[in-house]
C-alpha cells in the first residue's frame, strides 16, 4: 500500500507573527519556516505504518515555492521514501492544493492520503476534505488513532462531544489531530540519508491544474488588543472586583 502525505511550509509555530504595516499580509521575510505541525504528525503516522509492514511506500508532496524542498527533506528525514514538489510562485488556496493532490493521486494510485487537519498559517482546515470529495473517497478528519486492516481504515476522530470511530473503505483520506502520535526527531544520519532520496519536481501546468485563487485577500490587520495585565492582591479582592466592577458573578 502506498501512502501520499502532503506537507506545507509554514511560519514556525514558535514565531510571533507580525502583521505588515501596509495591511497586505503577515511579514514572512527572515522568519523561521518549518513543516506545518499537523503535517509532521501525518508523515510520522505514514512512516509508522510502513515500519509496521502495512504501507510499502511513503511519498511526501509539497506544493509551493522552491524552498518547500527543505520541508520535503524534513519529511524524508523522518522516513518518507521519496518526495514530489509541485513548484509554483502562485498563491495556492486549499481547493487548488486539493486539485493538485487529485492529479498526483491519479498518477501515483495511493491507497491512503494522510493530511494535517489544518495549516497553522491560514487555519483553513479544508484541503483533506476537498481532496476526498474530488476523489469520491471516504474521509476521516481529526484522527487520534488509525488502524488499517482488510482493506479498511478504522479511525478514531476527536469531535466536539468526545470521540467517534468510523470505518472507511480504502482508498481513503485521513486528516490528523494533535494526539495521533508524537513525531520523532530526525537523527543526523537520517538527515544525511534524506539528502540522497529522490525528489521530483513538477509544475501545476504539468498536472493540468488551474490553481487560480478564488478568494482575494483585501487586507490583513492586527486584532484589537485586550487591555489585560491588571493584577489583584488576593482572592478577596478578586471576588470583590468580579462582583462590583466586572459584574459577572
Amino acid at each position: 500500500m502506498k501512502i501520499l502525505v502532503p506537507v506545507k511550509r509554514v511560519i514556525d509555530y514558535n514565531v510571533k507573527v507580525r502583521v505588515k504595516s501596509d495591511g497586505t499580509g503577515v511579514d514572512l521575510a527572515n522568519v523561521k519556516m518549518s513543516m506545518n505541525p499537523f503535517d509532521e504528525i501525518a508523515v510520522e503516522e505514514a512512516v509508522r505504518l510502513k515500519e509496521a509492514g502495512i504501507a510499502s511506500e511513503v511519498v511526501a508532496v509539497s506544493c509551493g515555492l522552491a524552498a518547500c524542498q527543505e520541508t520535503l527533506r524534513t519529511a524524508l528525514a523522518i522516513g518518507a521514501d521519496r518526495a514530489i514538489l509541485v513548484e509554483t510562485d502562485a498563491e495556492l488556496q486549499p481547493l487548488a492544493v486539493a486539485k493538485l493532490m487529485q492529479a498526483l493521486a491519479a498518477k501515483e494510485s495511493p491507497q491512503l492520503v494522510i493530511f494535517g487537519k489544518q495549516a497553522i498559517d491560514d487555519d483553513a482546515n479544508q484541503t483533506g476534505q476537498m481532496f476526498a470529495a474530488l476523489m469520491g473517497w471516504p474521509q476521516a478528519t481529526f484522527a487520534s488513532k488509525i488502524a488499517i486492516a482488510d482493506g479498511c481504515a478504522t479511525v478514531t476522530r476527536e469531535v466536539d462531544g468526545g470521540l467517534e470511530t468510523v470505518e472507511l473503505k480504502l482508498p481513503a483520506a485521513i486528516t490528523t489531530d494533535l494526539r495521533l502520535n508524537e513525531p520523532r526527531y530526525a537523527t543526523l544520519p537520517n538527515i544525511m540519508k534524506a539528502k540522497k532520496k529522490p525528489l521530483d519536481t513538477l509544475t501545476p501546468a504539468d498536472l493540468g491544474v488551474d490553481v487560480a485563487p478564488r478568494l482575494a485577500t483585501l487586507k490583513v490587520v492586527e486584532p484589537p488588543k485586550r487591555a489585560g495585565g491588571a493584577k489583584v492582591a488576593d482572592v478577596k479582592e478578586l471576588v470583590a472586583k468580579l462582583k462590583n466592577e466586572a459584574k459577572v458573578i
Binding site: Q129, E158, G161, R214, G228, L242
Partner: protein
C-alpha cells in the same frame, strides 16, 4: 440571493451552534432556508421552523443520515444547492468535516471560520491562530462559509417557517460509524457556557483537576475546559480542549487556572468578556490578557475562591 444554513442537530433538537450560524446568515440579507438532514429528525426540523428569520426548512429524513457521515451528507447538499448564493454551517467539528467537501463538489472555495460579514461576498476571518484578521472576498458564484459561533449572537425564536420534505440522496456506502464515546456531563456545553473554569498543566494530575476545579465550576454553574497541555497529559478528555485547534470560546467569564497561556491557547479564549488568571508564575503570558490576574498557588487560591463565593 438566498442562503442555505446546514443545521447541526441530534435529531431531537438543534445544537446551539446552528443558532449562531443563522445569526450570521441574517447579516447577509436574502431569504434563509435551513437544511435538516437526519433520521427521525422531525423535532429538530420543527425547532428550526420556529427560529426567527427562517423562511423554509428543508428536511431529508432517512436512515443514511442517522450518523451524519460527510460522504452522503455532502452529496445531499450538492444536489440541493441550486439557487443558493450562500451555504453556511457552523465552524464546529461537524461543519469543518462537512462543508469543505460540499465546496469541492461545487468547485468553489470555502471561507473558513468567519467572525464578521462585511458584505454578501466579503468576510473577516482570523488567521495565524487569531494573531491577524484577514478580510477576504470570494469571487465564486456560491459562497460556502463556516461561521465562528462565538462571533455571532444566537438567533431567537419567533418564526413559523414552512417545513418541506426533500428526497434523500444515495448512500455513498464508503464509510460507517463504528461507535461514539461522548463525554456525559450535567454541566453546560463548553461552546455555549457563560462561565468557563479551565485548567492547565499546573494542576499536576487528573485527580487534582477534578478535586480543585469541580467545586468552583459547581459554584459558578460553569463548564470545564482545559489547555492542550492538560489534555495531552491525560488529565481530561480531548473535548475539553480550548485553543487554536480545540474549541473557540467566548464566555462572560473565563477563569484560567494553572494555565501558562501559550499562543495556541489564547487563540481559543481571548475574546472572552472577562478573563481571570490564577498562576504562581508572575511571568506567565496568560496575565497579559487577563483582566484580573492573581499570582498565587492555585491549590490554596481556588479553594479559598470557592469559600469566598459562599
Amino acid at each position: 440571493m438566498s442562503v442555505l444554513v446546514i443545521a447541526e442537530h441530534d435529531n431531537a433538537s438543534l445544537k446551539a451552534a446552528t443558532l449562531n450560524t443563522l445569526a450570521a446568515a441574517k447579516k447577509l440579507g436574502g431569504e434563509i432556508h435551513v437544511l435538516v438532514a437526519g433520521s427521525g429528525c422531525a423535532a429538530a426540523a420543527e425547532a428550526a421552523a420556529r427560529l426567527d428569520g427562517v423562511a423554509r426548512v428543508r428536511v431529508a429524513d432517512a436512515p443514511i443520515y442517522a450518523d451524519q457521515l460527510p460522504e452522503s451528507l455532502a452529496e445531499l447538499v450538492r444536489q440541493n444547492a441550486a439557487g443558493y448564493s450562500h451555504i453556511l454551517a457552523p465552524a464546529t467539528t461537524f461543519g469543518k468535516n462537512l462543508l469543505p467537501r460540499v465546496a469541492a463538489l461545487l468547485d468553489v472555495a470555502q471561507v473558513s471560520d468567519i467572525v464578521a460579514v462585511e458584505s454578501a461576498d466579503t468576510f473577516v476571518r482570523p488567521i495565524y491562530a487569531g494573531n491577524a484578521l484577514a478580510t477576504v472576498k470570494s469571487v465564486d458564484a456560491v459562497k460556502v462559509v463556516t461561521v465562528r459561533t462565538t462571533a455571532f449572537d444566537a438567533a431567537g425564536e419567533g418564526g413559523a417557517a414552512a417545513v418541506e420534505a426533500i428526497a434523500a440522496g444515495a448512500d455513498a456506502g464508503l464509510s460507517k460509524l463504528v461507535g461514539r464515546e461522548l463525554t456525559k456531563s450535567a454541566r453546560p456545553e463548553l461552546g455555549a457556557a457563560t462561565v468557563i473554569v479551565s485548567g492547565g498543566r499546573g494542576l499536576g494530575s487528573g485527580e487534582n483537576y477534578r478535586s480543585v476545579l469541580e467545586p468552583l465550576a459547581d459554584k459558578l454553574g460553569a463548564a470545564l475546559g482545559a489547555s492542550r497541555a492538560a489534555v495531552d497529559a491525560g488529565f481530561v478528555p480531548n473535548d475539553y480542549q480550548v485553543g487554536q485547534t480545540g474549541k473557540i470560546v467566548a464566555p462572560e467569564l473565563y477563569i484560567a487556572v494553572g494555565i501558562s497561556g501559550a499562543i495556541q491557547h489564547l487563540a481559543g479564549m481571548k475574546d472572552s468578556k472577562v478573563i481571570v488568571a490564577i498562576n504562581k508564575d508572575p511571568e506567565a503570558p496568560i496575565f497579559q490578557v487577563a483582566d484580573y490576574g492573581l499570582v498565587a498557588d492555585l491549590f490554596q487560591a481556588v479553594p479559598e475562591l470557592v469559600s469566598e463565593l459562599g
